[in-house]
């Protein structure tokens, strides 16, 4: 890695840089296309991770090691991880529905996407056309290094924009928390004393419920325990378990005894 950084810092396009570009360029593209095409949401997120990782490598190749690492730590490591976190909880088999709910949605999306891409490209081309590039060497040497240069700009010239952005992000995070978080009212919450009183009130047995039955023929949680008089102990089986009996095929010997 340091090879290519030094080569790039010297203002040349080294062989290492070319090799890395032709490895990671296609990977980034595959990731981007795969992200759109993957049916499974988690696979889609993983493709996006691949693209972001490749972008991080590109930044490093462009002699911006700090921004490259931040790209990997913040975007790939933190933000995509949170995405994945939510997606994993959604369920494994929930794939995208391919039915268009809005008519002409796909055509409109393609048109708007192309238009936006054109807009961005022309804007960048017009903005960069008149700029005479100084080169990275001069910019880096002004403050004694790439990291120091970024720090100097971030905390002097752009400090206000930086702080405003962070305030915006914090506001968004707090807002999301307020929307999602349901605080139970303090007065509605049962205290430990109340819970204890309810537990020892007459009519409630304070001890634990009996466990399920464990017999030579069955030790499943669905097997009720037997009371001394031979009847089932109702509370020994959880209410949510469906009552179930083995079919003839299931109770037949499995052929493992041979």
């Amino acid at each position: 890695m340091s090879h290519s950084i030094l080569a790039a810092a010297a203002g040349q396009m080294g062989t290492g840089e070319k090799v890395f570009f032709w490895i990671f360029g296609p990977l980034a593209l595959i990731g981007a296309i795969g992200m759109v095409w993957a049916r499974n949401a988690v696979h889609s997120a993983l493709f996006l991770v691949l693209t972001m990782l490749s972008l991080g490598v590109f930044y490093v190749l462009q002699a911006g090691p700090f921004i490259g690492m931040v790209q990997i730590i913040v975007y790939t490591g933190a933000i995509m991880m949170l995405f994945l976190f939510v997606l994993m909880l959604v369920g494994r088999d929930s794939s995208d529905a391919l039915i268009e709910t809005l008519r002409g949605q796909r055509t409109a999306a393609i048109l708007i996407g192309l238009g936006f891409a054109g807009l961005v490209c022309t804007a960048i081309a017009r903005a960069m056309g008149s700029v005479s590039a100084k080169g990275l060497d001069a910019a880096n040497q002004a403050n004694g290094g790439n990291v120091q240069g970024i720090a100097a700009l971030l905390f002097t010239k752009y400090v206000f924009a930086f702080e405003v952005t962070s305030a915006l992000l914090i506001t968004a995070a707090v807002g999301a928390m307020i929307l999602a978080h349901v605080e139970r009212r303090r007065e509605n919450r049962l205290s430990q004393v109340d819970l204890m009183k309810a537990r020892f009130a007459p009519g409630n047995y304070p001890g634990p419920k009996p466990g399920p039955g464990v017999y030579a023929t069955s030790d499943s949680v669905a097997t009720p325990a037997l009371l001394p008089d031979g009847t089932f102990a109702d509370r020994s089986v959880s209410k949510i378990l469906p009552t179930r009996e083995l079919s003839g095929a299931e109770s037949a010997p499995k052929g493992t005894e041979r």
């Binding site: 993983l46 990997i72 730590i73 991880m81 994945l84 994993m88 494994r92 990291v147 020892f200 009130a201």
Partner: protein, 456 residues
Amino acid sequence: MKYLAQDPTLANFGHDVWWLVLIKVVAVFALLLVLTLFTIMYERKVVARMAVRPGPNQVGPNGWLQSLMDGMKLPFKEEIIPITADKVVYFLAPVIAGTCAFITFAVIPFGPMVSIFGHRTPLQLTDVPVAVLVILAATSMSVYGIVLSGWASGSTYPLLGGLRSSAQMISYEVAMGLSIVAVFMTAGTMSTSGIVHAQAGGAQANWDIFGWHPQAPSWYAIVTLPSFVIYAISAVGETNRAPFDLPEAESELVGGYLTEYSSFKFAMFYLAEYIAMINVSAVGATLFLGGWRVPWPLSLIDHGVLNHSWFGLIWFLGKVLIFLFGFIWLRATLPRLRYDQFMRLGWKVLLPANLVWILILAGIKTTQRTPTGNTRWFVIAGVVVVALIAVFLWPEKKGPEAPSTEQLEEQLAQLPEGSFPLPPLDLQVPPSPRLQRLTGQREPATVGGGTDEKEN
């Protein structure tokens, strides 16, 4: 002649011949594998010693080859892949975990400039201006291995274990990253060799008995002590080790995220876990304990001759082993935390404490830089004002008052008939009626057969 260790600078990196790079890569890889095998045995031996039992003592001399044998057996075990598993991701997860574990050691300095087959080269695979960020990036990527293994197994316990583990690693990575900030601020660089160089104060001490010049301590473990404490705690959380080993809480989650893994894939996770422990130890030794530099009293010998060339490797490995001993000691002594306590510690204690400490350190640095200007007084005034505000506005702790005996008796009288029996309110346990009966029935023991004693 002065044997001053020649510190590598960033300019020294990236000029190695290809075979030298290859040698370094293979050496680092082999070192990590051997260290992993050693650490497993180290842990089992030390824990056994603390539990006063022999520990593994059958395979090899004193049982030291047990982990090697276990490691050789693991890949030959049957590989079981659950039907519900997502095959590709299930395969990918251990690969990610294993790969990311190895990256960290690429930027860890083992020693100063040495000579290998006639080439002057730093005893370090590579270094970049943002080397510590590379380490952080590798740890943040290794979370993917755990999360994906939990999800791809297609089973509930691994999913829960994976979620727990990733939440834990993300939270403690924040604390860890912030604790390193103080080191950056003090060292003024993010490259690992640069940070080791910045801690070199003791090595160049003016060794003179008559005109003693006491040197300020140079290790960041002392200079930035709060950061070191936070780093040590969050390193334990980051590596999922006891007492923070919630992802593999076997009483709650079976085996955590690797429940469904077997054979070679399981071995990869096992390897990754131990390498992660070695990684945080190595990073801790590099950032806070002076890296490969010889510790203080020894550094005074002959102008730091013990820092010279390959000696560095000894000190570095020694520091790593001391760090690892801390991990093992914790595991042998402390019980596991509850999940909410653990998260509260991370977000509500370590994080704010870290931010306040960074603020204080920034204040100190600013006053040091401008010893005469007004800035110093501004900083001191600011500290005083903040301290006063904190003292005055600190919320008083109001706990619920304990009810008096009268209140309790009143409550007792209100209990409906047939309530569960309650213990006496004065907490004086009355003598059990059964106990009295037993003592009444018991005959006095016959001692010696003499009649006098019987009547006593």
